[in-house]
Symmetry: C2
């Protein structure tokens, strides 16, 4: 049985459990996971449709031949000089889904794709993929684990290159270039290279800029790249010479928050029960208002995917799930500290992908 | 008046003309065009909402501080430990849009963002941005023209580098690397580097691969990169030594199709009236079934945007619109030929951005 056949069978089992008549995926990571590829994504409606009876593509004619190399699934094509409505109707009819009452939509697909499909199914109720494709994607097999681990090792080495390169007067962008160049040298495609120096570190999603690193800066380095189709994601802290006043105490609190979340993560516990102890460590230390995000997110084909480790998530964690643990404290106008591990949940707890310590890296200044 | 204020005023004028109560944009190019930036795009609902009375953001708390550097528009924030519904309701109320009856949705936003918004406005009818933001974005000013032209010049030079590098035995990916390296050397971010050699050229959206260029191959090179925030897009043809049998005749037909479309493009004509003459040249020559796509697409912040030059588009072309003219003929298992110009429509016809001829580049083999 091919991987696609196995995954389609697992999806149909989830569809029966959730009384779903139709699953519709756009050209993105859900489609990639299910059938191993996705056609070029643009403004041309393109959907993979799965019902109990069968599966088929609504396919822009332009992409039909190229996609045919990747799949045997039937195509209902439409060309640039016609609207896709007739091909969509034919596709729905071909798999007995033209009267679908309950539709699972790929939440990431373009709004116009989704509303066109719902327009063709006026009686349908929609949900998103959380209980079906999303639930299946959360648990990784050993081959995915091995590939994610390979990708993580590349990120570890890129981070070590960054540590070695840090010096006062270098801009954030220059440091990001060192990281990107290392990723490229190992055949990895950089996804993000956040370098938040000094006060910029207090913006969790800081856009790496022209600010020059200065002595006494704490520097948040949060990087990821895609290698072998799968992403990495790691955050570590560096200091340019002596860290700012009060840094060490806050770093210790974030480290304890990471440890508390790692200790709580076991199969059978809810995601919010992993978020809570990290949040409690930070709140109890008086920094609660400065921990402005969730504790973590899943990682697979997408850099952010379920399970999300939030204060309110009821998702029950299972063996084989891969997610980040990344609490942070962001003190406006001073510095930010985030420490991030990616883990796979084993029967006895989380296994960390990275081999780098979470200590502050002090670069000689 | 700032550019944002000018564009918001123009948008409100379009909203009045189209009886639109609310425009909702996701973190993407429409938002970038309107307010000059967009926050980090991920699974967290983030919307820019514009009504007659005002404008505001639904903003993930995580991105609030970083975004505040870029805009004075009010934020309604929500954090990872709550759902965005209350913040969305507050945002709609703040601009008097909580009873909106007609909503324009950014067609590119995620399906879940759009359906969440429509769920909060159960009486609203939706359309997409074609008559409002899309219509405004089609006409470029001289400063956008100058920046697009700069970006196009970088692509011309990258293509010349590729021509110089072509030799038998080189893989498509290796040639793409030459192109990407050139883009990077000029500070441009590569967007796509399609190298379709020999029979691969017959796939319009071929994924550049490991196939090695061989003597007698025709090679489609379709490349683009972002420079100064704006993209380029150009396609030219190369041959490795002597082109395949019958190549010259087909190249001449595609060239005549380009010329026919260029001759037809004038302010006041419909987009389909530019597509038609290109299509007619190819059909009359007996290759109609091998011209599987539209004649062109607009280019601005997005590499593909309105106006689309299709067989059925009623869009009336206006002075200042920027779009591609790119007919092609794709002969399965043999070769493909596409020639692509980006033009800006002037009062007296199209002005071509590229300075490269459309002749076949024959590389010494």
């Amino acid at each position: 049985m091919t991987e696609t056949a196995t995954r389609l069978a697992a999806l149909r089992e989830k569809m029966r459990q959730t009384e779903t008549d139709l699953v519709a995926l756009g050209p993105g990571s859900h489609m990639q996971w299910l059938v191993g590829f996705h056609p070029h994504a643009d403004e041309r409606p393109c959907l993979l449709l799965v019902s109990e009876a069968g599966e088929c593509f609504l396919m822009p004619a332009l992409n039909a031949e190229g996609s045919r190399e990747n799949t045997d699934i039937a195509f209902h094509t439409w060309s640039d000089d016609e609207r896709p409505d007739a091909a969509l109707a034919a596709a729905l009819g071909a798999i007995g889904a033209d009267k679908a009452k309950s539709v699972v939509l790929d939440e990431t697909m373009r709004a116009d794709f989704a509303l066109r499909l719902l327009g063709a199914l006026p009686d349908a109720k929609h949900t998103f993929t959380g209980e079906t494709v999303g639930a299946l994607r959360m648990r990784k097999g050993e081959s995915e684990f091995a590939r994610l681990k390979t990708s993580a090792a590349v990120a570890d080495r890129a981070l070590q290159k960054a540590f070695a390169a840090i010096k006062p007067g270098m801009s954030e962008k220059e440091l990001a270039t060192v990281i990107r160049d290392h990723f490229a040298s190992e055949g990895a495609i950089p996804l993000f290279t956040i370098v938040g120096s000094g006060p910029n570190g207090a913006f969790p999603h800081h856009q790496t800029g022209e600010r020059k690193l200065a002595e006494g800066d704490a520097v948040v380095i949060d990087i990821g790249a895609r290698k072998g189709g799968l992403p990495s994601d790691i955050t570590r802290m560096a200091a340019v010479g002596r860290p700012p006043e009060g840094y060490g105490q806050v770093h210790t609190i974030v480290e304890r928050a990471v440890e508390a979340a790692l200790a709580a993560a076991r199969p059978g516990v809810k995601a919010k029960e992993v978020d809570a102890p990290a949040r409690r460590v930070i709140s109890d230390a008086g920094y609660g208002e400065y921990f402005v995000h969730r504790t973590g997110h899943g990682l697979g084909i997408d850099g952010h995917e379920p399970p999300y480790i939030t204060a309110t998530s009821e998702t029950v964690l299972e063996e084989g799930m891969v997610f980040s643990i990344e609490p942070g404290i962001y003190i406006p106008r001073r510095f930010g500290i985030r420490l991030e591990e990616i883990v796979i949940l084993r029967a006895d707890g989380p296994e960390i992908f990275s081999s780098l310590p979470r200590d502050l890296h002090v670069s000689g200044a």
